[in-house]
Symmetry: C2
Subunit: 493 residues, 2 copies
Amino acid sequence: MAGLGLALLLLGLVPAGAVWPQPQLVRESPGGGRCRLSPSRFRFGYARSSAVGPGCAVLDQAFRRYQRLLRDAGPRGPGEGPEAAAALPGEDTRPWEPLCAELLVSVATPHCDGFPDMDSVESYKLSTSEDLSLLSSESVWGALRGLETFSQLIWRDEDGTFYLNKTDIVDFPRFAHRGLLLDTSRHYLPVRAILETLDVMAYNKFNVFHWHIVDDPSFPYESAAFPELSQKGAYNPVTHVYTLNDVKLVIEYARLRGIRVISEFDTPGHTHSWGPGGRIRKSRPSCRGWGLAKTTPNWSLSTSRVMGELSLFILYCFSPGSRLLDIISSYGKGYVVWQEVFDNGVKVKPDTIIHVWRENAGPYQQEVARVTKAGYRALLSAPWYLNRISYGQDWQTAYQVEPLEFEGSPEQKELVIGGEACMWGEYVDVTNLTPRLWPRAGAIAERLWSNKTVRGLQDAYRRLANFRCTLLRRGIQAQPLFTGYCDPEYSGF
Amino acid sequence: MAGLGLALLLLGLVPAGAVWPQPQLVRESPGGGRCRLSPSRFRFGYARSSAVGPGCAVLDQAFRRYQRLLRDAGPRGPGEGPEAAAALPGEDTRPWEPLCAELLVSVATPHCDGFPDMDSVESYKLSTSEDLSLLSSESVWGALRGLETFSQLIWRDEDGTFYLNKTDIVDFPRFAHRGLLLDTSRHYLPVRAILETLDVMAYNKFNVFHWHIVDDPSFPYESAAFPELSQKGAYNPVTHVYTLNDVKLVIEYARLRGIRVISEFDTPGHTHSWGPGGRIRKSRPSCRGWGLAKTTPNWSLSTSRVMGELSLFILYCFSPGSRLLDIISSYGKGYVVWQEVFDNGVKVKPDTIIHVWRENAGPYQQEVARVTKAGYRALLSAPWYLNRISYGQDWQTAYQVEPLEFEGSPEQKELVIGGEACMWGEYVDVTNLTPRLWPRAGAIAERLWSNKTVRGLQDAYRRLANFRCTLLRRGIQAQPLFTGYCDPEYSGF
């Protein structure tokens, strides 16, 4: 029977093999050792050797989050229907088995309060065993990745007992930049939806939130310097805006999960909603055009002032002129540009990152080859436009992309720093964002994190379907990959 | 500015023109008369001339539902952000304008307790004015349709005041059978999701819920005669089943909204989960094969017993043999068959309805022509598989279908009794059902209800986008048609 078959498939996973994205190296103890885990008694703590300790907000808060998530680990036991007793499930059903005691975290570098950046080291080692599990990393960001992996190692047997197998993991990301783009101009997304997305990004080990915050359709950013921009440019200046505090909240929430926020103020191809009420610039210049000469003084002033407010932001430019790029540089920020800037031959600094999003004069592989041959770093999004849905298991198409499969030297391949899953907003708002994103974006997360050799579709299906059930248990409205079920199903309905 | 433009578009609708699906005849008073409507003081009641009165559950309960829905009418006023005062909005802001008093309903036939059927008369007349609005209909089912239309006529001005324009409407459905199929075998859907779907079906004037309750992947129906079917065939025999009481609840909930339930027990092509635990029949016979000879005795026994339990059900047959159809007839039920039965030349009774779902030997129009030429009634679903999503505004493709656009005599056209929107469950469960269904299924609802001449895409976009905002106000997680916003947005997140 198909149903039971899939059920066994989902329940019968080798736990360590089910982590998403797949760690670089996983070795389960050949002896098959394991311990029982009590979600309420298990504790997270700092190892003595750790350079950071209590008071480090990034880890203190992560411990609390993962303590809560432990209770949602593994499928529900048979006795835990909706009417199950209030007693915590999974406790003491097998008192004769050893109890997992704690996970100690040891971080080598003492930095805790900064922001993750392109050079952050996210590698970690995780070793679980009965009395003590140890997670060691260079940075707090690596520790966050390891905590997520740890949470996914816990599984439950049919009686609802939680277990942790003796396992050794060595893990690190394949690409440094693993991004997700949300578009809050075509449809406004409430801050809560953005925060939830950041949660799930962390479950997937994404590390860059690319916030396409304003664009032609609406200007939801409430600028202190130019309040008219949102008063006249937002869909609704009261309910459909992000205040500076909202933006700060998003940035801090992301930081605590090891995620950088790149906020994009598209210019000047996409600036219909700019200027007081969008009244100044009526016609939309060609996206291939560029140069400040084509924009109004007001616009360039707005740009630089808004940038001043948002000192943490990096500016994306759709097709900026050289003068604009100079202004941006004067703020001491790096910048990323959409590929048109490169295609059009605008002079940019050597450290510019070129974001490849379309097939211009041939497949995107040729564009990546051209960009890297010219010595620029490249970010890949062309095959990862998740808004472009199609019928069936379209996550597989995204999964099968190999970012380094283009003609070029080893040096060129080094210049591909990662990629981004893009969820443009023409057809997406808070009503369908989460099911469209998850678990589909997970395919890209694994491609960017895991080893190049992790490519098998059957194995990926098995782990991604399992991971999707984990997301449901964590309260995320993630859609199914195919016929089947989770236990429990999504309960937020 | 695009945003503001769309906003004006949505707010500036002529209210009567915005009803979905479009009524057959709408005439707004040339004088432009209107009254103010107070959601708490307005009342629904029975006219003296009505053959049904208080105690008629169908209308008593409908009055209460629409009384509640009045408060969600029209866009939110500017003073009503999330933190607005608790006082009911829209009251007494224009005391000098006349107040709409009540809507009286007059039903000609005294039947209240029955079930809607294929011959139910759903026509109604609605006349609204200051002191008294009148809704008259042949049956209670027509009154339900009129109440829905009435609820969509109410609009709000910028201050949040509710209004009702003086309007006359004469309305009736173009097709008698306007169905929606849900599939609870490939993924289980909680009863709550089915009930919510019935609510939204009623908002769209759908009148048939085609419940594809069991199929190969799982058997969620908990049969009293054959409890093993679900004990071994359901994904989970405790959490993923429909009890007889669940089924009765769905049927009654549907009845109160003027919706018939057709429950389908697919046979024998799709019966992997049948028989105790699906153990009896291991191989799947060709869907083109038929005949009881190919099925086990146990199976045919189950079929007839399950049918006995579900005396309200009509049986769909995927490819039944003549003997099976005889058994079904002996229960005194009509039946609908998928087109294979007709294509394969199985002898069926003249009153059989053939459900056209695929393009066999040519486009579906040819199949409809063949079916009706043979004198059978036809139901159309081939172009309305809503599960087959594609990028962009794919509701337009469904909307542009013209069911009678095939070569055939006027008598043949008479035999097309309607159609069904189908949402098969391979990729759909409770996490994405509602946004995938709504407002896309609305395109089919209007095609089946409204006049053949109602075809303009621009006008349909305008009204459907407005209707989608109405759905959000009613708490339905309906996805956007395109860039823009609603006021308020979906608040269930």
